[in-house]
Subunit: 319 residues, 2 copies
């Protein structure tokens, strides 16, 4: 008679179900490696809530993010991947097995892939969520090219905000940079920014808080800010927010898995974390590019490294 | 009047036009970074000559390799990538510029991406080319899953051949391993192989050369070998060849760019080679997985690292 308290066992448990996770699952399940994915929200990660993905290779005219995310999921499920909806709250090293505490009880896995991604921090103002990915953006590399010869507002005062504001001048005709207090970016970046200020491409508004993002007929038209207690309006075609990253790595506290100063997961060249048998891929990895292509590529690579780990030895490339 | 001998200059020159190269070009050209690709054969790399790609994320039912390769190319060209048909024969470090010797003369680039890929070595027998990717394969991870409950012939006697023969038993009902002389694989692998021999899943044929791959109605039906001067026939549904890898890195001799023992290009965590300003991605990179997803992901990552290099400093992930 089976023990009613028996803990479910899997060869591989993948924490997350975004592009890196689903790409890895395509690889493992296609080779009949028993794989379970844990997802606490909606599969597809940030890709699923992106309006249009222009730079994922293979779609010449771009592809809606939700469609791409659905394609990833369908492909993994076609090979037998199963998604459990719940949250992994801790990982423990029980030697040969890793034990995962989850909201659906404990699970055991021979190998684990951390692919929980990172979220962009929000300003938290009215209108921000309404125009998410349709006028309000968090990644200049992804969405900057949609704003050729348009006006933009950039929100933030750290290294990213300054760097990306300068980068976005490649596309935008003018940029208003809204800084809540003072600029915190490095001196090198501030010196460089001065050139863009001098040329009139960027206007910096210090001690200016963002109060609301306003649109009309589905498109962003202006940002309402506050400076010196007074309301200020910035007409714009789009908003880029750079106020920080929120890596989904809280559940790793106490696991012995090392994080970097941004709380991203450190890995070696085999995408293995500092805990043997636990791998990492995608936007939660230290050094991540926050690009779907990179995440999918790392997912595939991680799956092959996990296969080697399960087989007990490296697989020669060809000799 | 322009100097007739003026050397063409580009921000980025990409050597190759396979998945890694085209993925990088999608990223650089979308941001108006002037990019030229050099291709000595047909764009698309090994993907373009693959019958069906089942594991590139985003295509739930798989995609013909040629279609995927064409999609990559169209996408890069949509953003302005230009492909020059010719061969790069040497790279020189002229300080701020890299100088590329090519069959169309010298070119200068501020940054270079090496994405020339690797080819699989062929046995070189009649029938091999006719059934390429339609019965004759060189990558078990890519095409093994097409042979569930089928008979296979595996050719080779090194680490890869032995390892992949064992791996292919996940799918195939039986495997004939044809070894020209004796098995050269490591003792660990040979010990493991013995279990598969004992269970009857793998039959090893030593001192058996491959003479011809024979098919009927477009499908492989048998391999003709020779043992002890006599003809031997092996009925089969498919053939996997593991007789070595041919990295396309000969042109790097004398460049100062370090290769590994397999002649693949070494890189750091930023995908930079040992020559600053020269980057590497895809199947020519030391540690490559020979997967399209990994190559495309590395291409995207390399493009962002090249952008940082051209900008003169690292771009913070978000802070």
């Amino acid at each position: 008679m089976a023990d009613k308290t028996e803990v479910p066992k899997h060869d591989v448990i993948i924490v997350g179900a975004g592009p890196a996770a689903l790409s890895a699952a395509i690889y493992t399940t296609r080779e009949d490696i028993d794989t379970l994915l844990f997802e606490r929200g909606v599969p597809g990660g940030l890709a699923a809530i992106t309006d249009q993905v222009d730079n994922y290779p293979g779609f010449p005219d771009g592809v809606p993010g939700l469609e791409l995310a659905n394609n990833f999921q369908k492909q993994a499920e076609r090979f037998g991947a199963a998604i459990e909806f719940g949250e992994v709250t801790a990982i423990h090293d029980d030697g040969h097995w890793k034990r995962l505490e989850t909201t659906s009880g404990d699970y055991l896995a021979r190998a684990v892939l951390i692919a929980t991604g990172s979220d962009y921090k929000k300003v938290g103002v009215p209108g921000e969520a309404d125009y998410y990915a349709r006028g309000v953006h968090y990644c200049a590399t992804c969405d900057g090219a949609f704003y050729r010869d348009k006006r933009l507002v950039v929100i933030g005062g750290g290294n990213s905000a300054v760097q990306e504001a300068m980068f976005l001048t490649r596309f935008a005709s003018h940029i208003d940079l809204l800084v809540r207090s003072t600029i915190k970016a490095s001196e090198v970046l501030q010196d460089e920014l001065q050139k863009y200020i001098d040329s009139g491409k960027v206007t910096v508004h210090l001690e200016t808080s963002t109060e609301e993002i306003v649109g009309e007929a589905g498109a962003v038209t202006k940002v309402i800010g506050k400076h010196d207690g007074k309301k200020v309006e910035f007409p714009t075609d789009g908003v880029f927010v750079f106020v920080g990253l929120k890596p989904n790595s809280e559940f790793l506290a106490g696991s012995g898995i090392e994080l970097d100063h941004l709380h991203l997961v450190k890995s070696d060249e085999d995408l293995c974390t500092t805990l043997k048998g636990v791998f990492v891929a995608g936007d939660i990895r230290s050094g991540a590019t926050m690009q779907i292509a990179s995440a999918a590529g790392e997912g595939a690579t991680a799956a092959l490294k996990i296969r080697e780990y399960l087989e007990g030895h490296k697989r020669p490339i060809q000799n």
